[in-house]
């Protein structure tokens, strides 16, 4: 054993550790500054692990389906699913119509609005794995750049916003959900169109299933508990008018100018299986800026 080992000359482990540390640190800085993702690493890891994760998930879904069959509740569950889908559909429609009405009321005389909530192109995808740690809420889906997924696409489920694609591999994509502690979404109250900032919060989410919002300017106290929160037109990452959730509490900030509080998201993040990816990216070109200016002057008047 000894003689066999001594034939090879090994670099002392200390130096290997130093070299690897340097590699890691430079990788962190590279991805920080250049916003690079894994590149070839993504492809290799994608081809090796994604099929296995898919397999495990399919097996899991099959098993849970079988378990459901054994229960006499099978039919009820089926019906429940259909009804749930119907509820989702109707909620989405309701938000849409509500939004459209408010928009109409405000802008009718000022602007001839184009179709705002045109049907976005969507792709369905399955959730195949969730973040290994307990700190962040990210997950991977089984569609990647081969299916036309790009960084920055919005992900929804049922009638609500789930998150945004932050990285793509050839056959998978990484999604950061809106309940993630680092997530920030520019949103607005659907009926008063006041802008606010929705940020994910690990502690409140774990404790009571809510996320926080802040910087709501609402001098006349028009915003109430139960109001709908949708993504805002000022957001440069999220498409406008996607339902996020409902306000569950409002507090006055100590500066007496802004309010903050909590929102219950409409999406059940615990049991996400199928999501929809909106393949239209938010356009932030000239045209969009113009319409933004127009609507901003409109809201000031």
């Amino acid at each position: 054993m000894k003689t066999y080992r001594n034939k090879k000359k090994h670099l002392p482990t200390k130096y290997v550790l130093l070299i690897m540390t340097a590699v890691c640190v430079s990788a962190i800085f590279l991805s920080l500054t250049l916003n690079l993702s894994g590149g070839p690493l993504n492809s290799i890891a994608g081809y090796v692990f994604v099929p296995m994760q898919k397999g495990i998930n399919d097996a899991g879904i099959w098993l849970s389906d079988k378990a459901n069959d054994f229960q006499t509740l099978g039919e009820v569950l089926e019906e429940n699913k259909k009804l749930q889908a119907r509820v989702d559909e109707l909620t989405a429609k309701l938000t849409e119509t509500k939004l459209e009405r408010y928009e109409l009321d405000t802008y009718r005389e000022l602007l001839a609005l184009d179709e705002k909530y045109a049907d976005y192109e969507k792709i369905t995808a399955n959730v195949i794995a969730k973040d290994s740690g307990n700190w962040f809420s990210t997950f991977t889906i089984d569609r990647g750049s081969r299916d036309g997924i790009q960084k920055g696409m919005n992900v929804i489920a049922g009638s609500g916003l789930v998150g945004i694609v932050t990285d793509v591999g050839p056959n998978y994509a990484k999604v950061r959900s809106i309940i993630n502690d680092t997530s920030n979404v520019s949103a607005m109250v659907a009926n008063t169109q006041d802008n606010l900032n929705v940020s994910g919060n690990l502690l409140t989410m774990n404790r009571s299933g809510v996320i926080t919002f802040s910087e709501l300017k609402d001098k006349e106290d028009q915003v109430k508990v139960g109001d709908e929160i949708v993504t805002s037109y000022v957001s440069d990452q999220y498409q406008q008018g996607i339902l996020i959730g409902y306000i569950t509490s409002i507090e006055n900030n100590s500066n007496n100018l802004t309010k903050s509080g909590t929102i219950t998201p409409v999406v059940d993040f615990e049991h996400l299986q199928v999501v929809l990816v909106i393949t239209d990216l938010k356009e932030t070109g000239e045209e969009d800026l113009e319409s933004k200016d127009a609507s901003e002057t409109a809201s000031q008047q």
Binding site: M1, T3, Y4, T13, V16, L17, M20, T21, V23, C24, V25, S26, A27, I28, L30, S31, L32, L36, S37, G38, L41, N42, A45, V48, F49, M52, Q53, I56, N57, G60, I128, A129, K130, D131, S132, G133, N134, W135, F136, T138, F139, T140, T166, Y172, K174, R176, D181, T182, L202, L203, N206, R207, E270
Partner: protein
């Protein structure tokens, strides 16, 4: 070579289980950390070098699929593996106390590092709340899983070592 293949499969299986099955089996939205068990175990069973490499690859996997900056988890897990390797001299397979202690400490320390760099730096100061809702529950759940997983890893490692000894003897003759 056989060891490398086995390590690859162990890392793969732990990663897959952790990201799929155990996420579904999570209690109060807390899942156990199987990868830290593997990294720590191979650290104190096999020494600094192997612990370091197992840690690096486990961390890299997390970075690729879930991290935001490539290399953060690779760095943390690599050091966890390396530090566990220092305790190789004190490791006896029959003694359960040291492995439990090291794996538990590794889990808590890795979570503290994550909290410190990725939460405290974004001015999330409520340390005790994070300790209570995230770090301690994960520690407890991980320790329960350790009792089963550690013995599997120990047996795999012993089988590998026996195989390597037989091969080394062949070379000597």
């Amino acid at each position: 070579m056989l060891r490398k293949i086995c390590l690859f499969f162990i890392i793969t299986i732990c990663f897959l289980l952790q990201t799929t099955v155990f996420q579904a089996l999570s209690l109060a939205e807390i899942a156990p950390n199987l990868l830290i068990i593997a990294v720590s175990s191979f650290g104190f069973m096999r020494g600094k070098k192997e612990g370091m490499f197992v840690g690096f690859f486990c961390g890299l996997l997390i970075d690729i699929f879930f991290g935001f900056y490539l290399g953060v988890y690779a760095l943390i897990y690599m050091y966890i593996g390396y530090i566990n390797g220092i305790f190789q001299k004190r490791f006896y397979p029959d003694d359960m106390k040291l492995p439990m202690l090291l794996i538990g400490a590794s889990d808590i320390i890795s979570n503290l590092v994550v909290y410190f760099f990725l939460f405290l730096f974004r001015s999330r100061f409520r340390f005790w709340d994070y300790l209570r809702t995230i770090i301690l529950p994960e520690f407890v759940y991980t320790m329960v899983i350790t009792i089963f997983l550690y013995f599997i890893l120990l047996k795999v490692n012993q089988a590998l070592e026996a195989h390597e000894k037989r091969r080394a003897k062949k070379f000597d003759v």
